[in-house]
Amino acid sequence: MTIVSVDSLVKRYGELVALDHFSMAIEGGEIFGLLGPNGSGKTTAINCILGLLPYDKGTITLFGEPMTPTSYDLKARIGIVPQNVAVFEELSVRENIDYFCSLYVTDKSRRRELVDEAIDFVGLSGYEKFRPKKLSGGLLRRLNIACGIAHKPTLIFMDEPTVAVDPQTRNHILEGIVRLNHEGATIIYTSHYMEEVEEICSRIMIMDHGRSLAQGTNTELKAMIGMGERLRIEVANADDELIANVRSLPSVISATIDQGFLCVDCKTGAHNLVDVLELLQCRGVSFGRIYAEPPTLNDVFLEITGTELRDER
């Protein structure tokens, strides 16, 4: 069932077109990744979907119904984890979670259970009486998440939830997201960190300049580009002639030297490594460490747009 449907969305800020006929369809049970560099329109799209921003053209439906600022029935099924931490500075961890949960759940005893579960879920047990200013950045992000998911929404929007957090907290957050999905939530996850999106998202959309550039599973996206794998071979005494020779191999897309490593992008094929190593041996070039890596989403983005995903980690 299509939970979120966005069709030809246009949003302008004066002359700037933030969303340019943007379309998206998200099925129930997915972790849908929205990947793009800063300024690509991810947050604008999310805000329009949530009714926080008016838009100029297009249609948006959630759970099959149009979303308006007064669609309280729809809102009851949605949770958000915004990019900026949205908690009250004067309330404790428990008070914050309880308050935001109370905006959806009126039954006190049920809400108490949900708050306890949310605190456990994000790993804030022991910090319940702390106020936000006493929490580290990572714990604050966890609190931000708890406030958004305590009421057990069926559709969760997570807008760059791991910005400026330590690796341990990031892993904790990503594990939590997967757990939420297993419990039945559909999650829309926006980020400019391709590693996270690759790790947890079942389907990914790459967007830039307010447009959808490509979408599919991780595998499908990588299959869209010509590159099958990237080889990195540690070489000594590489010269321009060697690089030219490597480039002349039929499966090679590009070849460069980077800090003592011969980097070769190859098309999909079963013998790419053998071909390159044979060439090196013929030329009498000694080599050391060898790495063979599949293409990344950055490679996909690069091939589609000609530029790299900006602000990579």
Partner: protein, 410 residues
């Protein structure tokens, strides 16, 4: 809505910055007023004012009878401003030389002698006594008032007697005695009667405290500003999160503003109790009605703060700054900043009576004043109606402004 009320209240009461303005600042200012007005307490210079009178033949002349009687009356217990002492502490001296000696040797502020049939005051200079000028003014006022009243009363009685009394009974030498006997038989023994037109003695200082409560209410408006500001999606992530929640906007607004109102009321109540119980400011012994003013005044303040909180396209600090400016201007026209300011406020109120109803500080001050100055509750009722009407108007404006800002940006 209950949880919104609860957590908004908690959030606001833990906001130290806002509470300083709403609670601590009025108490501090009231204490400063108290210290300042203590120096202006009439009881400090309205009793036992030393006066040396040259008791010679000229003083004993018949023309000076009214002045002699007046001074005698003012040396009696009960004539002081506090009612428990005498206004004048009079001593006599046989001649001018001795009077001056005694004037400079003692604590008297002036010497009175009759020169060329006219009373004359000789004032002492004493830089060490900061109140000497005020006391000398009192003495001079007594002298001048006695002369003026004497003249006026004499003319008035003569005119009345011409119409009612047997003028043939009035003789030159025993005029005063004859006059009294004629008066008592025709007009009555009591020539004048002191009546009070109000329950409470006039107290100009009290108006400054009323104006201070008006200012305190405007400072408490910051609570409404913060409460409304945190509901707007465009002012921050908290507002955005709240605006897309399942709780209706109306419920969130009501819960938030009710919490702000309660806290504003409590802050004002504490300030009021401090003034009433500790500083003994006069509120006309109508404390319950005063609580009504506080309740309505804090509602008005909350509504005003909500209007500012809902102003579009302004950062929160700017909104708070503008509100502070409005509070200070409102207090100006409530007469808070001194005598000249109070006169300005009275002048503006008399020239433009409607201005009282658009200035919350003045409206609140006026409501308290009406309780103190009038026996009837009618002026209080009108003042409260004005406050209620302004509250409703501002609440409506705040809601309309909020509705226009349901988006994070346009």
């Amino acid at each position: 809505m209950g949880q919104t009320f609860k957590y908004t209240f908690l959030s606001l009461i833990r906001n130290g910055g806002v509470l300083v303005w709403a609670l601590a600042f009025p108490i501090v200012l009231a204490t400063m007023f108290y210290a300042m007005f203590a120096n202006l307490d009439y009881d400090a210079f309205g009793r036992d004012i030393g006066l040396i009178v040259v008791d010679d033949e000229a003083w004993q002349a018949r023309d000076n009878e009214p002045l002699r009687r007046t001074l005698d009356a003012l040396t009696e217990t009960g004539s002081s401003s506090g009612g428990d002492g005498a206004l004048i502490a009079m001593r006599t001296a046989p001649d001018e030389k001795r009077a001056l000696e005694e004037l400079y040797a003692g604590d008297a502020v002036a010497a009175l002698l009759v020169s060329d049939s006219e009373p004359e005051l000789l004032m002492k200079r004493d830089p060490a006594d900061s109140m000497i000028g005020v006391k000398q003014s009192v003495v001079q006022t007594v002298l001048e008032s006695t002369e003026a009243i004497d003249t006026t009363a004499t003319n008035a009685i003569e005119q009345r007697l011409r119409g009612t009394a047997d003028m043939s009974k009035l003789s030159g030498e025993n005029f005063v005695n004859d006059l009294e006997s004629v008066l008592s038989s025709t007009i009555g023994a009591d020539y004048s009667q002191r009546i009070s037109i109000t329950e409470n003695a006039p107290d100009e200082n009290a108006r400054y405290y009323y104006a201070l409560l008006g200012l305190a209410a405007l400072f408490a408006a910051n609570l409404g500003l913060v409460a409304m500001n945190e509901l707007l999606p465009g002012t921050g992530a908290v507002g955005a999160r709240r605006s897309i929640s399942a709780l209706q906007h109306r419920s969130q607004i009501a819960g938030s503003l009710l919490a702000a109102w309660l806290l504003a009321f409590l802050c004002l109540l504490i300030g009021f109790l401090y003034m009433d119980v500790v500083l003994r400011v006069g509120f006309g012994h109508r404390e319950l009605a005063c609580v009504g003013v506080l309740a309505l005044g804090s509602a008005l303040a909350t509504a005003l703060g909500a209007v500012f909180g809902a102003l579009p396209k302004l950062p929160t600090a700017a909104k708070a700054g503008i509100l502070t400016g409005v509070a200070c201007v409102g207090a100006l026209f409530a007469g808070l900043y001194g005598t000249a300011c109070m006169e300005l406020a009275d002048t503006v109120a008399s020239l433009a009576p409607w201005s009282v109803y658009i200035n919350p500080a003045q409206g609140i001050s006026q409501a308290f004043f009406s309780l103190y100055a009038y026996d009837s509750m009618t002026p209080y009722g009108f003042a409260m109606l004005g406050l209620a009407a302004l509250t409703l108007v501002l609440t409506g404006i705040a809601y309309l402004l909020y509705r226009r800002q349901r988006y994070v940006s346009v």
